[in-house]
Structure formats: C-alpha cells, structure tokens
Symmetry: C2
Subunit: 659 residues, 2 copies
C-alpha cells in the first residue's frame, strides 16, 4: 500500500495509506440528482426532525440531568441513547461542511450540554456511573459505554475536520484518553459488547497523530474473540466474541456489530500495515457476500438477535436487513475499497446505498425503516406520528423508535456521502459511484484538476464526465467503475475524441493530457432484467426478481387492481421486463384469484391430486424501485416474484382436514 | 351438546358436556408400540431427569428458600421456574395412575416443600411478593404469577384425580381461592401475560363443582383483548391482548400463549354453554391450520417473540415450532374434538403428536428440542450435558434450558397420553388415535365393554380391534377415525364377519351386537407419498416433502455419502418414494456437488446466463422419520426437498463481484 498524502482534511475516513486516496467534502460536491434530492431533504428536514425527537423523548435532557445530578431518577431511553445525540452531531458537522445549510448553532448548544455531562476524567455516559446507577463498565456485554464513547469521538473528529477544533474536539480527546487509561494494558481486559470504539479511536489517531489511540483500537480488535464477554442467550457469536477476528471465516452474530468490528479491523490493519488482518477481513467479506447477503445488499436474516443467519438462510419475508447494517456495510466496503482499490467493494456499496440506505427514509425525510424486509404479506397499521414506535415490524416507516439508531445513522451517511463517491491516486481520479458531482483536487506534484459529472443515474445509464481544469500537457487518468450488474449486457465508453468502445465490469480508464471541455461518456445498460438466485437460497426457489441498473424493483399492492394482493402475482420470465412510465417496470404475468375465505383447508396435499384452477387473465404487472415502496399508504410488497402459469398456482383442494 | 356422565375420574380434561365423553387413565391403557416405548422412557427416565435438573439448577430450592425467608437473595431461574415443578408433579400424578412405576414418594416430598412456601392467603410464587422482591402482581405482562398458579392448580387436580385428595389438592384450592379473591369482580381488573390459569380454574371447577372457579376463568377470558396489559416491544398481539377472544379470526402472537388461551376459552364455552365463544375458537383454529401451521403440525414461525407469523410465513429453516406449542395445540384440538366430535381435530392432534411432541425428546429421554426446525443447514455444536443450555438453536437436543418448559411439558403430555386416544358416547366407543391399547368402560345403562387394539402403527397401517367384553345381544358401535392423510389413497375396513369395504377420510363405524373375540380391522395405506404445499407458502416453492402415514420424513446428512450435505439433494418427484429398510424411505434423486470454497461469488445472476453444471449421478436418497432425527450426532437436515434436475441446480457463474 502506498502512503496517502491527503489534500483534504474534511474526510470521514482518512487512512494514512492505501491503494486509493479518499477525496474530502471540500473536494467533491453533489449538485443534484438522486442523491442530491435526498441530501437536501436530509439537511433541511431530517436533522431537525432528529433533534426535535431527541428533545421530545428526553435523550437530550439526559445530558442536562447528568450535569445537574438528577440523572439516576430522570434518565430516559435505552442504554445507548447518548449515541444518537453524537451521531446527529456528526451528521450536522458533515452537512455543514458540504451543504449550504448550517447547523452550527444547534451543534454548539448541544456540545455545551454534552460537555457539562462529561466527568473530570473524561468518562461520558448518562446511563452508568452516577450515584444511584450501575457502576461504570459493570455490564460490558450490554452497557454500550465504549460504543457511546466511540460515537462521541467520531462526532468530535467530524466537527474538527469540518469546522476546526472546538468543544467537541476536547470532549472527544478526553473521552479517548479515558478509554485508553481504563482499557489499556494493565487496565480492564475487556471489550464492548457493541463494537464502534475501534473505528473511532483509529480516526482520532489519524486526526491527532497520537499513536496510543491506534494502539488501543488494535488492542480492542485483538482482545475480541477470547470470550471476555458474558455468554448469553444469543451465544458468543452475537458479540463476535466466539473467535478472534483473524481466525473468523465469515461475518456472524449481530450484523451491525459484526460490520462495525470488521471496519475497525480494516482501519487497524491499514494503519499498522497488518496484511494478514486485512486479508482475514477480505475473506470474511467474500463469504458474507456470497452466502449471507440479500439481493438488496441487505445483511441480517434473524429478527430475534438482529443477526446473520446460517449460510443461505435469507428468507425474504423475514429479512431483517437492518438499516444500520446497510450503513455499516457501506462503511466496511468503503474502507476495503480504499485499501485495495478493487471495484467489487464499490459494487456492493452501490447496491447497498440504493437499496438499503435509500430505502430507509421516507420521501419526506420524517420516517424511517428500521428493518428492510423483501416481502411484506399483510398491510400493517400506520405507525403513530406522535409516538416512538416500539417495533421494527410495521409495513410503514415510523418517525422514531425506542431503539432509534436508524434515523441518525442514515443522516450521517447521507451527510458524508460525497466522500464515498470518488478517490484519487498518483495517476488520476477514480469515479466509483455515479451522481451529479463536481470534483476538484490536485494530483501528485500539486497539479490542480477539476471535473464535473452529469447523469440521471440510476434512472438513466448515461454518465458524462466533463473536464473543467487540467494541467497542460500532463497526461492523467480518469477511471470509471463499470458496475458488476452490467455483466451479460454491454456497457460502452466514449473517449473525448468520440471513440466508442465496449467495456466490461471492473474499471474503464481514459488516460490523456485532458483539456478543459473534454468529455468522457460512460453508457451503462440500465434496462430491466430478470435475476435469479443461487439454488441454495431456498426461500426464493422458483421466483425471479427484477433489477434495473443498480436498483432492485418490487411489486407493491397499491399498483395492483383492487382486491389483489402481491401473493397473487405470477410472472412469465420468458418475457423480458420492460420500462414503464415514471421509472416503473412492467412485466407480463397473471394474477391468481385466491379465495381468502377458504379457511380450514389444510395447505399441504399429495402431489398429483388436482389443484383448483384459478382463473387469471394475462396482464401487465407494474414494479417500482424497492427504495420507493411504502410511500403510498399501507401495502403489501414483494421483491421475489413467483414464476409460473396460473393453472399451476391454485390453492390445494379442500382436504379431509377441511370438513 | 350432551351432558357427560363420566365413568372415570382419572381425566386430564373432564368437561361436563360435549359431543364425546373422554375416557380416563383407568379406562385406557397403552400396552406397547410407538407410544408405549416413549411412555416407558418418560416414566423411568425423564421424570427423574427433570427432578434431578430442578434440584441442580435450584428451582426446587426456591421453595425451600421462600419457606425459610431467604428467597430474595437465593432465588434461581426465570420468573416462571416454579411452574416446572408443578408440571413435573402433574406428570408424576398421571404416570402414577397409568404406569407401574410410582413416583408418589418424590411427589409427596415436593408437595411438602411447595406447601411450606405457600402464603397464608393462598398466594404461591417464589419470584414475587417476598421482602426484597417486587410486589405481587406488579408485572402482570411478564411476571407469570397467574400462569404459575394455573400450573399448581393443574397439578393439584391431577394428583386428586389420580390418587385422591392430598396436600396438593389443598394447595391448589387455596391458590385458586386466592386468585378469585384477588382478580374477581371488584379486584384487580387484569389478566396474566401468559394464559394458563383459565384451563386450570375450569378443571378445578369440574373437580370440585365450585362455580366461582369457572366464573373467574370466564372473567379472565372476557377481560383479555382490552389492552389491560402494558404494550411492549412485541405489541399487544403477543399477549393476545389486541382483540377480545370472541372477535379474533386467527391465532396470533406468542404461540403457546395463544393456544393455551384458546384451550381455556373452549373450556369456558363448554361449561357455560357459550356456543358463540366455541364457534369463535373453531374459526381461529381453522384459519390457523390453513395458513399458519407447518407440515409437522408445528406452530410458530418467529424466533424473536416465539410467535405466529403473518399468514403463510412458514420458513422451514427458521421454523420455531416450539415443543410447548405442539403440546398446547394437542390440548386445544382435544378439547375441540370432545366438544364437536369432528375428526379433523384428531387429525391435527395425530400429526402434532407424531411430528412435534414425539420429536422433542431424545431417544434416551434425557434431552429435548425446545424448537423444532424443519431445515437445519449447519451442524451445530453438541450441547453441554452438564449445563443448562441458554439457547434453543442447537442442532441437537439439550438436557435442560434456562427456559426449560419443554421437558416437563412433554413429560406430562406423554403421561396423560392414554386419555387422548379414545372416547365414548351413548352409542359406543370412538378410536381417534391408533396404538396398542386396552380399553374398558361401560356404556349407557352400565353395560360394560372392553376391547383391545393391536397395531404397529405408524410403521404399519393395519389396526386390529378385538372385542373382549360386550353386553349380550345389545348392539353398540365402534367408530374408527380414517385419517385425513389417507385422502387420495384407499383405506379399508374389515367387519367381524370378514366383509371388506373401502372407507374415506372421516369416521368409519361398525355397529352390531358384538361378541367377545369379534375383530374389526382397519387397513390404512401407509406407503410414502410426495406432499406439496399451497403456493402461498413461498418458502417451500419448488420442493416436495415425504409423508408416510402420519409421519413426516426428512433427509439427514448422516445418511448421505461423506462430504455431502442436505443442501445437495435434488429429488425426482416423478418417481414415487419407496419403503426402505428399518422404517426409512428411499427416493430417487441427485446430489449436486457444490464447491463450498466458492466464496466471493455474488449469489444472484441474470436469468439466462449459463449456470455452472455440477456433475451428479442419480442415486437413492434415504429419508428417516422426522421425529427420529438428530439422534446420531450433529447433522444437517431438511424436510422439504428441492425437486429438479442436477444441471439446473448448479451455483451461478462467478460474476463480476467475484473478481
């Protein structure tokens, strides 16, 4: 890996070395399009929504109560509620660095409140350690104290990089010093049940140059997997405490925890030059992507413990695919992309951004999916708009949750998104994700370059890169990721001189002495296609899904004729799906008429006993992008569509059970 | 419904009216066969196993600690641990009434310990209400206090009916009096988060003739569904507190709770002549059987909250199918059978007894499945034999659990099983389940009859009923259930005079003035058959299962060639499955050679891109009865077998993700 000499400091992730150099929020600006609209909603609506809710449910008040010595009787929310405040502050910092809307005043006020609650030795947590509360670190498995310290450190790093040193910088350093003093060699030989402190300490080390923060992160990574946490109902794998990080072959246990830990391990590996550790995480990523990931990029198949299932346990109707696992997966893939330069990591990040991260928030930015199912069978109740939802199982997004990690996690991800789109190296610029952006940086030797990207991706497949600034007569390279989803179709690249050539999944490059006004065009085949799954994903046998470009599509009941539900759909995979109006896809199929009143019929019957034939006319079935579902009232929805003829899709005969 | 004038008092369920009259443990004896072997193990091994474990984990000691005033610091186990003691006492009572092995001494000693812990006002619970503990009934949603009272009442009823009045009779009456005084009109307007008190109070009313116990049970049934319990993470449906029992259309929420409540509602409906309430429960049963029940009869698809899923959410690899839900389903079906006489209830009970209740205990009677999955994908670790297992997800049965409701629930069910096999009415005797039994009772007018049944069911389909005693020249009727699973095949009945006639699912009857030595023979077609599911059970699309008689079969990896796992199996449904040696079934198919090392391959690919062809020779695939799986070491297992050709079963090509 080469050393990074970053030109920007406004970076969520700033490794000191790696195959690619990240570009900061002052180097990449999103100017519109799919992500521009979402970032605008995030900045102008969601950040305030989160702040209002945290005031309302008392999580802001927890810090005041701690400062005023009444926290033991006044505390509100779960043990990790503090972290939501920190994630919001992190989001505000990145948004302030990249958008026109400033949240500096709110952030400063919150910073003062938080500072007032920090103990003299740097410890900061409103749920533990005060008179009348459980002692500090008395419940490492579930207490989330180091996790919360991690998030306040990340907030401090973000605010420092975005706006310079301030109150949060000091809070973060004091917190980190406390963690090192308490959990360093000779201190508590433990780890936190929820990883997160690892990435934070490494990032603070990158910011400050303090080696001891990195050492402490490495210690936490190495300590895990040795059974220091209490074994519990969910087993040691839940906390990734079953196996050392270097020995694990696949991600397992609680998905967010597993992914945060893996991201921290990559950070440590990169900073310490530990190629074995990096290779171990790459192996785990590979196995997880091959066997434990939904078509959407979603991870986590168990509701019970928010965890990965066994290999190929990926039931669409019980998909957990937690929003925060999507965020964490993007964090991991981004770090692996920077370290290795391999486009497969950007492929997964793209899939996850469009189909998990973009799915969670409602169009209006005021409600969120906690879990992202791939098949909703019954219309759910509309969540209350004025109360935190206790459950993650509604068919509609809820404004807030008792465990409300998703709103602030989506918010900070959207706020820092420009930094996840492109990188540079000694030879030029790499475009990993396609959006309307303007990029300005300088290459080796200080040669300034600038370019802008215009596209209506993912609706359209045409991506135009215009060079705005380039050193005279010095060749450099623009690299463009050709997404893995183009496999089997054909993508083309047009050089500035108009040459058009086919390109295959991976990376396409144009190297030349660019001149301002030069244009490169990438043409990606975004027509809709049928997708099938590895037969070991038993739960989707006999079904197909539609993907159009990076977008996974779904059928939603609001697009079906009255009285029909998505379970009635049978599609004909021999007919290709076609583009419909307004970003929809239309496919040929049938709607099977089930009689919902046929209760009492035993649903299993001997093979060969004649099924009831349900009449069903061939019809066009409208599909919508998965990320857009559930914005039109309660509905049923499915991504994987049964393939078949209507006369083979009828319910069984009434059996003897049925008399 | 007609009035019951039971000849026996040794009855687990003794309704005062109903279509059928139950036969007691002194009227029906199991003499051998499938259930005889299991009951012998239960009586001679499992009861002692449970007693040892409860001593070891301190649950017996809780009663001593309560009596000695040190329970606040010494209590062990979850809040419902007391109930396991009561369920064991109930099992011992029924076993004592029907088997040769007496547990009277242990039971008497336990009764003394329990009596010493009962408060003067009848309250009995070691987890609440003592100095230093939470107050009585301060957590109705989760405290299980009324649930525990219900189980001690059931134990008292059992001991009284099996052996006459004793210490437990008094304990039970005092407990019930306390419950009525505390929760009657004018008392606490609440219900227990876990039903169970309802069936217990009705049974005590039946035993004692005390109307107020019945009234209290009716009050509990009517009170539920009005939101008196705290709403929580799992929603009100978890506790069936979302809808009044009369208004619900399907069972929902926590499966055991839902089924216990439904059983209690039937008891109340029968005793109060409330036809509307009975009809409501029948409707719920019908909808649940049609849309929320596994092929095994198992109920409960969610691990998270041990609950029913939405309609047709029945993933085999995440089947919860809790053992106790199987027990509870048999309890419900039995009550509905007695009330209505309809054989469909006995059909479901049979399916559930053979495929859930018989599956839970290990062959040696010393380990139990808590949950009964239909597809195990990875070999699990062997549970510790010397420690309670915290988890319900092992591939092997565990000797004890932190929540160890299954061992004692299986034990009491097997102990009372003879009472679930046959009934009488004014016209004769009805045989609902086939086993080696001897039945002696008297018909209307006091005419004594006796018969014995000999069969190797379910291995064989021939059931011989021999009349041993019959009133001279008075015709009466022997009714035999023709199981629903025979639909599409042909069953025959042979009269005592040798006439052989085909019979269809439902009830076959022989009415005559029997003479001792007369024989009736039922010939049931137990050959193996392919079973398919309603297409709305998405998770098993494209698969078939094998059922042979009432037994569901499965493929287990220990029967496959080395190096193959059950996910490799592709069966050919065009070839009928055949009987193999030792109760196995053999079917034609292929084993697909997956390369387990192909990590990194994205498991989804465009339709029509060529799949890798995996070589696989046609082979015979051995299946074993589902109830017998996991008795030969860690294994993988599946009930639903993918149908298809090997060349269509290969994994996808390495995609661009894969580079």
């Amino acid at each position: 890996m080469r050393e990074n000499t970053a030109r920007s400091s406004v970076l969520p992730v700033a490794p000191s070395r790696g195959r690619l150099r990240p570009l900061g929020l002052d180097e990449v600006r999103i100017t519109g399009g799919f992500w521009g609209r979402r970032r605008h909603t995030n900045t102008t609506v969601t950040l305030g929504h989160c702040l209002d809710w945290m005031e309302r449910v008392g999580w802001t008040g927890n810090f005041r109560a701690a400062a005023e010595g009444r926290i033991h009787r006044d505390r509100r929310g779960r043990e990790f509620a503090d972290s939501e405040m920190y994630k919001l502050l992190e989001a505000m910092a990145w948004a302030g660095a990249s958008d026109d809307v400033s949240h500096d005043a709110e952030a400063a006020a919150l910073g003062d409140v938080i500072a007032s609650a920090q103990e003299p030795d740097g410890y900061l947590n409103t749920a533990f350690g005060h008179p009348g509360q459980q002692p500090r670190y008395s419940d490492l498995a579930w207490g989330h104290e180091l996790y919360c310290h991690g998030h306040v450190i990340q907030a401090g790093v973000a605010q420092t990089r975005a706006a310079g040193e301030g109150e949060l910088t000091k809070i973060a350093r004091r917190a980190a010093d406390h963690v090192c003093a308490t959990f360093g060699r000779g201190g508590i030989e433990g780890v936190c049940g929820h990883p997160g402190i690892e990435t934070a300490l490494v990032e603070l080390a990158r910011l400050t140059g303090e080696q001891r923060y990195l050492d402490q992160a490495a210690l936490f990574v190495d300590r895990r997997g040795h059974g220091t946490l209490a074994d519990g109902e969910f087993g040691r794998a839940y906390h990734q405490d079953d196996l050392p990080v270097r020995d694990a072959t696949v991600l397992r246990g609680h998905a967010v925890r597993a992914l945060y830990l893996a991201a921290g391990a990559v950070d440590v590996a990169v900073e310490t030059g530990d190629e074995d550790l990096l290779a171990a995480v790459v192996r785990q990523w590979e196995a997880t992507v091959a066997r434990r990931t939904y078509l959407t990029g979603g991870m986590g198949a168990h509701h019970r413990d928010e965890s990965f299932g066994d290999d190929f346990v990926l039931p669409p109707d019980r998909a957990y695919s937690e929003t925060c696992a999507g965020v964490a997966s993007v964090m991991l893939s981004w770090r692996l992309l920077l370290a290795t330069g391999e486009p497969r990591f950007a492929d997964l990040a793209e899939r996850t951004l469009f189909n998990v991260v973009a799915t969670s928030p409602a169009e209006d930015g005021r409600a969120f999916f906690y879990a992202n199912t791939l098949h909703r069978r019954q219309r759910g109740a509309v969540p209350a708009v004025d109360a935190a939802s206790p459950r993650a199982e509604s068919s509609l997004r809820a404004p807030w949750y008792a465990v409300s990690c998703c709103p602030t996690n989506v918010a900070r991800t959207l706020a820092q998104l420009p930094a996840y789109l492109a990188t540079a190296d000694d030879h030029g610029v790499q475009l990993h994700q396609y959006a309307d952006v303007e990029i300005a940086t300088s290459l080796r030797g200080g040669h300034g370059i600038a370019l802008r990207v215009r596209t209506d991706y993912p609706a359209g497949g045409s991506v135009t890169v215009r060079i705005d600034r380039s050193p005279v007569d010095r060749p450099w390279t623009v690299s463009l990721r050709v997404p893995a989803w183009t496999a089997g179709a054909t993508a083309h690249l047009l050089d500035p001189d108009g040459t058009r050539r086919p390109v295959i999944p991976g990376t396409a490059e144009v190297t030349r002495a660019f001149r301002p006004g030069d244009e490169i065009r990438l043409e990606l085949p975004v027509r809709p296609r049928w997708i099938t799954a590895d037969p070991r994903v038993d739960a989707v046998r006999g079904t197909v899904a539609v993907q159009r470009g990076p977008l996974v599509y779904c059928a939603e009941s609001v697009d079906l004729p009255d009285g029909h539900d998505v379970d009635a759909i049978r599609v004909d995979p021999s007919a290709p799906p076609e583009d419909g109006p307004d970003g929809t896809v239309v496919t040929a199929g049938h709607l099977t008429a089930y009689d919902g009143q046929r209760d009492g019929a035993w649903p299993y019957r001997p093979l060969g006993t004649a099924p009831a034939t349900a009449s069903a006319d061939r019809t066009g079935i409208v599909l919508v992008p998965y990320h857009s579902w559930a914005n039109r009232g309660p509905s049923t929805m499915r991504v994987w569509l049964p393939a078949g003829e209507p006369d083979r899709a009828g319910p069984p005969e009434r059996s003897a059970h049925d008399r």
